[in-house]
Subunit: 229 residues, 2 copies
């Protein structure tokens, strides 16, 4: 049973995954951080993921390449314009153009493989169903359905291991996530959220992700430490 | 509705996926074949996948690279000996060393992304729960659970598309699959099954996969057209 406090944590470089990592550590898990390189526009995220894992401390941080060619038709992977200066009300209508087909399914499938190999039973993912709730693969019913797949798909599952997919942020607002991060001592200056940063890495301040972030800090009564263009 | 006869078919190069492809074609689907390059020992399989898709005819054949580093601990991806000369009874005990963690979950997750991008609603996978039934991710309950994930994970699913995961071989014996392939005119000389082929590509005849194949042909009253060492 020595291994049952190992957890895979998906780390993208944003506030949500950094906070999720801090929660996993706070709950006493040894963290194996997993990031994905899919040539996304914002590869600068991977540098943020590096800074965060080093700052918070993990047992291992793996970055694996995934083939993005199957996931095209998204403003995050293709040459589709990232929406700017929309109200947060407008964002909450429908599924955003930044939706990447089956992304979290692919991420969790890879996390599951690694979990089984290193004998971890816990997978943490920083999905959130409250703000910017248009992503279908950020809903509790998706997480529950994937947990069922995890337990049916694997040798470990057949042998009686119960995999648990943790989504500790799923019911929190962005302001609540930022407050949580703050209370856990996460250095949010290390995170990156912008979908469309300047070449030198500053956030645009106008894409949906920047606006949600800025609104979250404002609602939490805190100041965002990252640089804006 | 013009697109609703598009199907993704997972093609590994073996008898099962070739037969599955032939069934999808026979059922009137336009086939988008998907193969995975994960540096597996038997890369010769990918050459077989090429021959099969060309022989049976597909609209497109994609081969995508996946990072195998997360799926180690398998005789198919690591330096673990492939079992030889076991009885088919012995094979049916427990989960084989050739089990690759979360493989079919990763394969189906990628197929789902592509399905959503090309507006296909059907995914075919040649899993089989009868012969060599030790793989947990070849069971009907796994397929059903993944279908549920597919419909919850995607924009298409939220918008009312019903994804269907087809596993037409799941209840067939190897002999029944071979007979089916034969009746559909599949050229089984193009397929490759061996886990441990000679450098010039001949099958070993002794690994579990060769033995199941040879037994299948014998039970079907047919002769295996591939070359053995």
């Amino acid at each position: 049973m020595a291994d049952n406090r190992k957890a895979i944590v998906l780390v993208s470089g944003g506030i949500d995954s950094a906070t999720t990592l801090a929660i996993a550590k706070h709950e006493g898990f040894s963290v194996y951080a997993l990031s994905f390189d899919y040539d996304q526009r914002h590869r600068i995220e991977l540098e943020a993921a590096d800074r965060i894992t080093m700052s918070l401390g993990v047992d291992e941080h793996r970055v694996i390449k995934i083939d993005k060619s199957l996931m095209s038709h998204s403003a995050l992977t293709d040459d589709i314009a990232v929406p700017k200066s929309r109200s947060t009300d407008a964002m909450s209508q429908g599924i955003p153009t930044t939706y990447v087909p089956a992304r979290n399914t692919i991420f969790l499938a890879n996390a599951l493989a690694w979990a089984e190999v290193i004998d971890a039973r816990h997978i943490f993912i920083g999905v959130n169903a409250i703000d910017y709730s248009g992503y279908p693969d950020c809903r509790p019913e998706f997480i529950n359905a994937f947990e069922k797949v995890a337990n049916l798909a694997t040798k470990a599952g057949v042998e009686g291991v119960q995999f648990k997919i943790h989504a500790p942020l799923i019911r929190l607002t962005k302001a609540e996530i930022i407050s949580k991060a703050n209370s856990l001592g996460v250095d949010l200056s290390l995170t990156h959220s912008c979908y469309d940063p300047t070449p030198d890495g500053r956030a645009c301040g106008r894409c949906d992700s920047c606006q949600l972030r800025l609104k979250g800090f404002a609602d939490a009564g805190l100041t965002d430490p990252v640089k804006y263009a």
